[in-house]
């Protein structure tokens, strides 16, 4: 045993503090959520990422030399994060959020690489993307980048505070909040004039508006509300479910209070929509509303209460909820059909769950109760239909009615 050299405690050149900083920044970037397949080894990739164009599979970012990023230099890694170009010179698809990661500093990116280098290498080959031609040819991304990609490290706004700038750096960069919370155009590029105004995540989840709107945004939330939500998964106004629950579980619960506060300060400074931009002008038929209310009273009041206010920090309020009143009703329909679960965090270890109602309520009933929830207690949301519910049912449940 004296003859074998002990393996280095961490990769050469990296210090303990840069590795720990990298671990923290990898949490901020929520790398683990996408780069881990269900039931698979962390960071070994293979998770299917559905896009409107086809399915892309996340890659192995453990330091395995054959299938992971073991052979990648710091520069290779920075090029991927900053410019969306992988080690072999080919383009990455923006399902990997390099349009946001580009603004991370080289130093931060190096720290993330130093952390990833400490992971146990997992030999697991990457799966090719399942995209139709011409998207299957990665060269087309060069044209997409020319049109929509703005390479460049974050530049502080000197008119704003350091706290605001730290929040902006995290939200616009590693946090890549806009990847879900910003509407996209037909080619999947974020609409730059509607940053963080809410976006279609896909899979029938709608990521709500993070702007200052009272109804649909964070206008009614204090910075403390935002910090508590990101730290623990819920606050007195709402609770996370679906993909956001995963973000809280794998990412934001690990951020420092100072960073969460910075994010909150930045988000609270986002403007509200101009009045009149409300697209939900159609109202729901009063008979359907009455039917929806009856279903609500029978099935939902036990937790969400008759007045829709829920129980603070336990059962989310539906009244005045931005998620409930979002532009698309998909999240509400999704949760009614398939249920939802708040993340178990160290601050709130209980993972509260809502049961699935797909086996109990038919498409008409789901549509009625969703329309009721989106338009009761002062809420306002565009009406949905049994047909829309039926489509979502097929996608998110076993399809049994």
């Amino acid at each position: 045993m004296f003859l074998t050299a002990a393996p280095p405690a961490h990769p050469q050149g990296a210090t303990f503090s840069s590795i720990e900083r990298g671990r923290y920044l990898a949490s901020a970037g929520d790398c683990q959520s996408c780069h881990t397949n269900e039931g698979g080894a962390p960071y070994a990739g293979g998770r299917p990422i559905p896009t409107p164009f086809g399915t892309i599979y996340s890659t192995n970012i453990t330091p395995d030399s054959a299938t992971g990023i073991g052979k990648w230099s710091d520069e290779d890694f920075y090029k991927a994060m900053h410019a969306g170009i992988r080690r072999d010179g080919k383009h990455l698809y923006p399902a990997f959020p390099y349009p946001w990661f580009t603004s991370a500093t080289a130093d931060d990116v190096r720290a993330i690489k130093a952390f990833l280098d400490t992971l146990t290498p997992v030999r697991q080959a990457n799966k090719p993307a399942d995209l139709p031609w011409p998207l299957s040819a990665r060269e087309v991304m060069s044209g997409w980048n020319t049109l929509y990609f703005h390479e460049g490290t974050f530049k502080a706004d000197t008119k704003k505070s350091d706290v605001w700038n730290r929040g902006a750096y995290l939200v616009q960069g590693l946090g890549h909040c806009g990847a879900c919370h910003t509407p996209t155009n037909a080619l999947g590029a974020p609409k730059t004039d509607a940053m963080l105004k809410g976006g279609d995540f896909g899979e029938h989840w709608y990521a709500p508006n993070l702007g200052g709107d009272l109804k649909r945004g964070l206008g009614a939330w204090s910075t403390a509300d935002i910090v508590e939500y990101l730290k623990t998964g819920s606050n007195a106004k709402s609770a996370s479910g679906g993909p956001m629950a995963e973000v809280v579980k794998n990412s934001t619960q690990y951020l420092s209070d100072a960073d969460l506060n910075a994010i909150a300060v930045y988000l609270k400074d986002l403007p509200a929509d101009k009045p009149g931009a409300d697209s939900a002008s159609k109202t729901v038929d009063s008979q359907r509303m009455a039917h929806g209310e009856a279903i609500y009273v029978d099935n939902c009041t036990g937790c969400h209460m008759e007045n829709g206010a829920g129980i603070a920090k336990i059962f989310p309020s539906l009244k005045a909820s931005s998620g409930v009143q979002a532009e698309m009703p998909d999240t509400v329909i999704h949760i009614v059909l398939a249920g939802a679960r708040t993340p178990a965090t160290s601050g709130k270890p209980t993972s509260f769950a809502m049961p699935a109602f797909d086996r109990k309520l038919n498409d008409d009933e789901v549509a009625d109760v969703v329309n009721y929830i989106r338009n009761a207690w002062g809420n306002h949301g565009s009406p949905t239909s049994a047909d829309a519910v039926s489509k979502i049912r097929k996608a998110v449940t076993q399809g049994v009615e």
Binding site: P349, S351, A356
Partner: protein, 588 residues
Amino acid sequence: MATRLKPVDVVLVGFGWTGSILAQELTDAGLQVLAIERGKFRDTVPDFATTHIQDELKYAVRNALFEEPARETLTFRNSSAETALPMRHLGSFNPASGVGGAGVHWNGQNWRFLPSDFVQRSHIEERYGKKFIPEDMTIQDWGVTYNELEPYYDKWEYMCGISGEAGNIRGKLQSGGNPFEGARARGYPLPPLKRSYATAIFDKAAREAGFKPFPCAAANTSQPYKNPYGVQMGQCTYCGYCEWFACGNYSKSSPQTTILPVLLKKDNFAYRTLCDVTRVNKDSSGKRATGVTYVDVQGREFEQPAELVILCAFAQHNVHLLLLSGIGAPYDPKTNGGVVGRNYAYQITSSVDVFLNENVNPFMGAGALGQAIDEFNGDNFDHAPHKFIGGGYIALWTTGGRPILQQHGLPDGTPKWGSDWKKARHENYLRSASIATHGSVMSYRDSYLDLDPTYRDVYGNPLLRLTFDFHDNEHKMSKFLTDKAALIGKAMKPRSIKVNYREGHYSILPYETTHNTGGAAMGTDPKTSVVNRYLQCWDMPNVFVMGASVFPQNAGYNPTGTVGALTFWAADAIRNRYMKNPGQLIHT
């Protein structure tokens, strides 16, 4: 041939309340803990999903959450002169199967025993003389006092988020609470549940009759709650589906709603479900346990070595396993020698149906929404003129108004069927309530558990045999309590009342309470107890026994609060005494 598994520090037989508390406490102490459970894993969602759990046919009638007699049962007889027969249906009590144990389907009626309950024999002898205790009554002191247990009652109540009104804080009586309770260090973590109208009528009547009624303490949350582990609970919705049901709203205390969210995340904890433990294994000296043998759902046999074996199953099952494993001398009623199986006890209940003039909406209830008086419990009154020992509380519970099994009785003279029955039901559903008495049962030489000589289970092991009947002492006491309940019933100014005394032999069929106790009694003398005051086996110091099986006799209260307190007390002894110096903690 059993497959030998990797050793662990602690193996827990059963993963209900006591197993969950011990797992949480002992993993905190750094031990590697494994719980083995015969039933399935269950959680609020999807297993107890609200709007699905309120299914009386599935749960109350078809017993979906209970032990299945087809898989495990016991034989029963009233006296040793009879031949015991195996029970194909259980009725008088309903043990659970599955993670969370009966903590999933209980009402949440939470009590502390009286200080005098823990020194039952010495207290009675001191106050009434030795002769006051009948010769065949085998009651004894617990070996632990109320004051010693008080901090652990407190721990249990704050873990559960109990809703209630304190009656005695540090010796100072509190208005509105139970003036007879032992002194507590502080009040309950949550205020009492909202009162039902029927409990308000009871309260007024009891006051007029000269008693001091109080809201019963409930493991149903009156408000949202976060316990010291950080685990959160919702707020009770008064849906009326607690007893025999699980809670779909995170508002009844159970292992799932108070411990498992933190316990299941620990690296040094694991559990295995659908596994029947068949033996506690011993080393060649016979003085030390080496682990347990269990059979999984595929019939494969495993040997799980462990440094410490803790029995956390339902009361009778702990005793069954001790008997099958040959730990401690089996009790012999002929010689009054031996200890395992000795001092089995139960409870004696009765009721007074009250037919009121007012609508009281029974369907809006909670498992522990009740108003009680405690004047006639334990030794809260002078027993000398009555010539019996024990007592019980008298309470009006509004637990729900389910359509199939939860209908109160109908006035005397009502036909059992037909249009007049329907009419009476219609007239009385909203306008009736029932006052319950919840009486103690002492232990006796002829009430015990042993191995059945005839009937065997699926593994070829003898079934447990229960020999039990009510004694004169209990009948006298129950009649006394029922008459007091009728007094309050009349003071409620009803149209009529119907008094249902508990008479005759004990029957194992109609439901009474799942409050079976004893068989592995605790005490100060190894000749009359299986475990010492720390719930450690006298004969095998690395085996501990939890739960109501250690009660030397039964008190006039629901036992779960005391089971919880004893578990925290034992956990403390294991952490702070046994782990420092493994071995027998008490030397006689």
